[in-house]
């Protein structure tokens, strides 16, 4: 027996040395065997006596049950700050919460307004977002849908599943470009049971020596991450160019000259070089007294051509006095000022919009005049 003991000790020592290089961390292993899974194991031995094979002998069976590990990850979803406009209501900061434990859990959610001077994504907190409210993505589209995403807690998130969480805040106005409101979302693991209800907070069970008991072990029972609402601006530049289409002498020709009676096309290009898209843009252009607006110059006897980014051109009629046909364009009563926009509709939910990335960061408006 003495020899056996020393042999076993040596084995254990070898084992320990061999395992030193293998480091496993339960906190980084996303989900594995579900809690409450039984693991059973036994060995068998085959042998001969006097050259005669003997019946295979089984060992006892060792059994243990996989405990419930509680773990989660909270992460800001976009990898950068959330650009907002001054005075914007319900600005959406998106996070994700992932259940990295091995059992379904509920999670409570809370949001904190970080102190002035805190730094998130390089933005120093200078303002506070008001009315911070949390909503959980109900339809798994990772986009906040008002009236659809209603819950303020996460109900029954299965192991390894991820859900989007939206924090809505109101941005003060006025607020300077670059002003930032930093926030932190915290999720806390709760038990799960009743559907649609936030069950009580999860609790860690004490150490138990019974391998058949499912322990509840906290790897982490809370997690948090930060985001920053940063006030951005849309910076619009306007360039106006003209091209003589025809004159009474040369007709429609590239050689046409700007002489009385010539038709000139004006092209107004609006470019957004800011970090925030400009919505419901309205452009007003004064028409000089020696020019007369030409009606019916474009497709379908329309007056103005509008090209938004890479989209097909849209056309409108610039009637006098007011936009009585509701297409967004009109001239003043005297006909010497043109106003162009696109009405907000299902097709154009933000009206005439100048985005921040090509080709949508450019809008071109064309209209024609004649030289008196």
């Amino acid at each position: 027996m003495c020899a056996f003991k020393s042999s076993l000790k040596r084995l254990l020592a070898t084992g320990l040395v061999a395992f030193c290089g293998v480091v496993y961390s339960t906190s980084v292993l996303a989900v594995g065997t579900p809690a409450n899974t039984d693991i059973n194991n036994s060995a068998t031995v085959g042998y001969k006596v006097g050259g005669v094979p003997q019946t295979t002998v089984p060992s006892n069976t060792t059994s243990f049950v996989v405990d419930q590990v509680v773990d989660l990850t909270v992460a800001e979803a976009d990898g950068g700050d959330t650009v907002v406009g001054a005075g914007q209501l319900d600005a959406v900061a998106r996070f994700t919460v992932t259940n990295t434990g091995n059992a379904t859990q509920d999670f409570s959610l809370s949001v904190a307004d970080l102190v002035s001077g805190s730094d998130v994504f390089g933005n120093t907190d200078t303002i506070d977002a008001d009315a911070l409210t949390i909503f959980v993505d109900a339809n798994d589209n990772d986009v906040y849908d008002a009236g659809v995403d209603l819950a303020g807690f996460i109900d029954a998130l299965a192991a390894d599943d991820t859900v989007s969480v939206f924090v809505l805040g109101d941005i003060p106005s006025p607020a300077a470009a670059g002003a930032a409101a930093n926030i932190e979302l915290t999720a806390t693991a709760h038990k799960t049971g009743t559907a649609g209800v936030l069950d009580p907070p999860e609790t860690e069970t004490g150490i138990d020596d019974d391998p058949a008991t499912v322990q509840i072990v906290f790897s982490n029972n809370t997690g948090s991450d930060q985001d920053s609402y940063r006030v951005g601006l849309a910076t619009l530049g306007v360039v106006k160019a003209s091209d003589v289409i025809s004159d009474p002498v040369a007709g429609v020709s590239t050689a046409a000259l700007a002489i009385p009676g010539a038709i000139v096309e004006y092209e107004v290009t609006i470019t957004n070089t800011g970090i925030l898209e400009a919505t419901e843009v309205v452009i007003t252009d004064d028409i000089q007294t020696d020019l007369t607006f030409v009606t019916g110059a474009y497709a379908g006897a329309t007056d103005v051509e509008i090209v938004v980014g890479g989209a097909p051109a849209v056309y409108c009629i610039a009637e006098l006095t007011a936009d009585s046909n509701g297409d967004g364009c009109f001239r003043d009563a005297a006909g010497d000022s043109l106003t162009v926009s696109i009405p907000v509709s299902g097709t154009y939910p933000t009206g005439l919009t100048v985005g921040t990335t090509a080709p949508d960061n450019e809008v071109i408006i064309r209209f024609r005049v004649s030289i008196n």
């Binding site: 027996m1 020899a3 056996f4 042999s7 076993l8 040596r10 084995l11 254990l12 070898t14 084992g15 320990l16 061999a18 395992f19 293998v22 496993y24 961390s25 339960t26 292993l29 989900v31 594995g32 065997t33 899974t37 693991i39 059973n40 194991n41 036994s42 060995a43 068998t44 031995v45 085959g46 042998y47 001969k48 006596v49 006097g50 050259g51 003997q54 019946t55 002998v57 089984p58 060992s59 006892n60 069976t61 060792t62 243990f64 049950v65 996989v66 405990d67 419930q68 590990v69 091995n102 150490i207 138990d208 020596d209 019974d210 391998p211 322990q215 072990v217 790897s219």
Partner: protein
């Protein structure tokens, strides 16, 4: 002669029965296997130093490593030959590379549910497209230790391997 032979047989039978009554495990054969599962636990001693010790498995979560030890004892009165101990890698667990150990044994592995055994370096598995590749630790389904010499009556040995809970 006949009568004497019978009486000897009776004595043998009787002693066999006594053995059975005295030790239930003897019914399983003359080699007895003892299986145990342990895990590493970090404890802080009185001086505040952390030490890792092996304790009986009680609390296991995914990612935890478990050490399985099988001790074999020849409880018979004859040497046991060609002793081969086989232990499956449990479901929901993955064999830890290079963890199998056992004095005076050659260690073989199976990657096909215990049908075939080979040295780790010779073991191959099929890819989905039918081609073959060398098996790695996570492919192992069974570990087998072949004891290289006869196991004398009354002697013991131990073999072990580690696996991680998936």
């Amino acid at each position: 002669m006949n009568c004497q032979a019978i009486s000897i047989a009776k004595v043998v039978l009787l002693s066999g029965l006594l053995l059975l009554a005295g030790n239930a495990l003897a019914q399983q054969g003359t080699i007895r296997l003892e299986h145990q599962a342990e895990q590493w636990e970090t404890v802080t001693d009185d001086n505040g130093a952390e030490q890792v010790q092996l304790v009986k498995v009680t609390n296991v979560v995914p990612g935890d490593k478990v050490l399985f030890t099988v001790t074999y004892t020849n409880t018979g009165d004859q040497p046991a030959e060609n002793v081969a101990i086989t232990n499956p890698v449990p479901e929901h667990m993955v064999y830890v590379d290079d963890s199998a150990a056992g004095d005076n044994t050659s260690i073989l592995f199976s990657a096909d549910g215990g049908e075939n055994f080979a040295d780790a370096s010779d073991l191959r598995v099929s890819n989905d497209d039918g081609s073959q590749r060398p098996a790695n630790a996570s492919d192992y389904t069974h570990v087998r230790w072949v004891v290289q010499s006869d196991v004398a009556p009354g002697t013991s040995g131990a073999v072990q391997f580690a696996a991680v809970v998936e």
